[in-house]
């Protein structure tokens, strides 16, 4: 673990000493980061220019893997469309909801706050229990939803929720929303606790009269860096939707109606052993996420400037 670094007894602006100490503090994280993340990312990017089946020697093929994506892959555009659709709908929704819930909960006294926080963090705690939704939306009349609807007389025949193109993507979005709020929600909760309370007092004196005013003029600007974190986590989780989809709808799903990029990458890599192509798809996915990350960063910057 970390040893306590040399206290520089020198002077106030101890340039060199402070820099050394800084690098020492950074070293444990960065060295493991380089080993376990940076080198693998680098090699994956390199691999995307090769044809590699995990057995024979990789063959350099230039940008062929990338060309293939756009010209020679029958499912790529469907899968890309699904991924974008899920991302654009559930991402912002989940981002806003996790903030709104955290903000409203933050108003309550201690005990109420703990209980409510627990309710909303519960999905993250049940771990891999999203298969419960499979039970709920099961296609026979044993499924809870079918059973309920039949007994209420809305339908007479059980609906194949997860096989029916009309319903499956909505269901997946609801489940994804249910699952994805945990991290952002708790980060927001503790971020809100960090907002300087004196600002609220000052705001009230300066004429902030409703909680919504206060939210806009005081809370949001103070929360900017946590909001950025939360947004990045949403981008990360929403573009990587995979287990939810494969557990609920299987892979490939009916007419590829809900297949997303990550299951496709896993299929290409694990089932077809085309590691080069899988790497190229990952690089593509990365740039797409990076694009959204930059847009979101710019948008959040604007929020501060208007104030």
């Amino acid at each position: 673990m970390k040893t306590k670094t040399i206290p520089t007894s020198k002077s106030k602006l101890s340039g060199a000493g402070e820099n050394t100490a800084s690098w020492l503090l950074l070293a444990p994280f960065m060295s493991f980061f380089i080993l376990c993340t940076l080198i693998p990312v680098g090699s994956s990017v390199v691999l995307s220019f090769f044809d590699y089946d995990m057995v024979s020697t990789p063959i350099f093929t230039g940008i062929q893997n990338y060309m293939r994506m756009f010209t020679d892959d029958s499912v790529f555009f469907t899968v890309l469309g699904n991924t974008l659709r899920f991302a654009v709908i559930t991402g912002p929704l989940s981002f806003l909801l996790s903030f709104l819930l955290a903000w409203l909960i933050n108003e309550f006294p201690h005990t109420v706050r703990s209980i409510l926080s627990f309710l909303f963090y519960a999905p993250a705690l049940v771990g891999n229990a999203y298969y419960i939704w499979q039970v709920a939306f099961s296609g026979d009349s044993f499924g809870y939803v079918n059973n309920l609807l039949i007994s209420l007389g809305f339908i007479t025949e059980p609906i194949q929720w997860l096989k029916d193109v009309a319903y499956n993507s909505t269901i997946i979005m609801v489940v994804q929303l249910w699952m994805s709020m945990g991290v952002s929600f708790l980060a927001n909760i503790s971020g809100l606790q960090n907002v300087n309370t004196e600002l609220y007092e000052a705001g009230a004196i300066d004429g902030v009269r409703s909680r919504w005013h206060e939210l806009w003029y005081i809370t949001l600007p103070s929360m900017k860096s946590i909001l950025l974190f939360s947004a990045v986590m949403q981008i990360q989780s929403v573009f990587s939707i995979s287990v939810v989809v494969t557990t609920l709808a299987g892979y490939p799903s009916v007419n590829n109606s809900v297949d997303t990029l990550v299951p496709l990458i896993q299929d290409v890599g694990t089932a077809r052993y085309e590691m080069g192509y899988a790497a190229a798809l990952s690089v593509f996915l990365f740039f797409m996420m990076a694009f959204f990350r930059i847009v979101v960063g710019k948008a959040l910057d604007l929020m501060g400037k208007q104030d």
């Binding site: 673990m1 970390k2 670094t5 206290p7 007894s9 106030k12 402070e18 820099n19 800084s22 503090l25 950074l26 444990p28 994280f29 960065m30 493991f32 980061f33 376990c36 940076l38 693998p40 990312v41 994956s44 691999l47 108003e107 703990s114 409510l116 627990f118 999905p123 705690l125 771990g127 229990a129 999203y130 039970v135 009349s141 044993f142 980060a187 971020g191 606790q193 960090n194 300087n196 309370t197 004196e198 600002l199 609220y200 007092e201 705001g203 009230a204 004196i205 009269r209 909680r211 103070s222 946590i226 974190f229 990360q236 990587s240 990550v262 590691m275 790497a279 990952s282 990365f286 996420m289």
Partner: protein
Amino acid sequence: MTTNTVKKVRMLRPKKRSEYRRYTRSKGGTVLYFSLLFLAGMFTVLPMIYCICTSFKPLDELLIFPPRFLVHRPTLENYIALPSLLNTLRVPMERYFFNSLFISISGVILHVMAASAAAFVFSKSQIKGRKILFLIVQFALLYNSYTLSVPQYLIFSKIGIVDTYLVYLFPAIPSAMGCFLMKQFIDVSVPNALMEAARIDGAGMGRIYWQIIMPIAKPSWMTLTLFSFRDLWSTVPSGTIFSEELKLIPQVMTNITNGGIARSGSAMAATVLMMLPPIIVYFIAQSNVIETMSSSGIK
């Protein structure tokens, strides 16, 4: 609102957190929001309740038609059946439990220490290149982790740590999410004036980190502990662990959950037991977070 007002207010008298923010709140609004939140909360917690109920259902209630959500005649038989379902394992159950606990706890400690130290440097130091390094860390978060498993495996086998505890711990330490979270929190909660003051007092970076940053940032690293424990507790390594003695609980649990409908009660019992440690950590962390929050904000 101007900084002047803030100062004026600060001079009047110190107030407790609960005294603030009454000005902008109406009672009716509070009740309304509470009811809405509680309803939404019930929806999100429903699957967890379902898990718990099902784990107490006797076999005939599991198979009953129409299916019932709640349990009518609760029984412990699903829990009692667990040991006999697990006695085919070559390694005693306690070993898996120890492994999981050991990996989760040591992984969390190492990760929290490393990530917050790095985050502190990214946020408050003056070294060259910290901005670009932090950007790299941030963007690495977006790279699909599945694709990394093959290169990671090759690296781990090259340095000879495949099939040891280290394959669990090594990737856990530099999780970019933790560093990012801590950096954002330190940015907000540690004023630069405090850094200046500490420097003038002659404190080095190491001491500032340990004696000033960590206490102030306690709510944030408690939150990070929560996330990190949850992730490590449910880790299933991909092809880097072969020895049965080194496997973790989630890998064993799949033996039970794959048992079909007759075992679905026991599968739920196992799921419920798996949930307990993260829930306990949640409550420990959360009570700490709430206690320290009010005092930490701005010194």
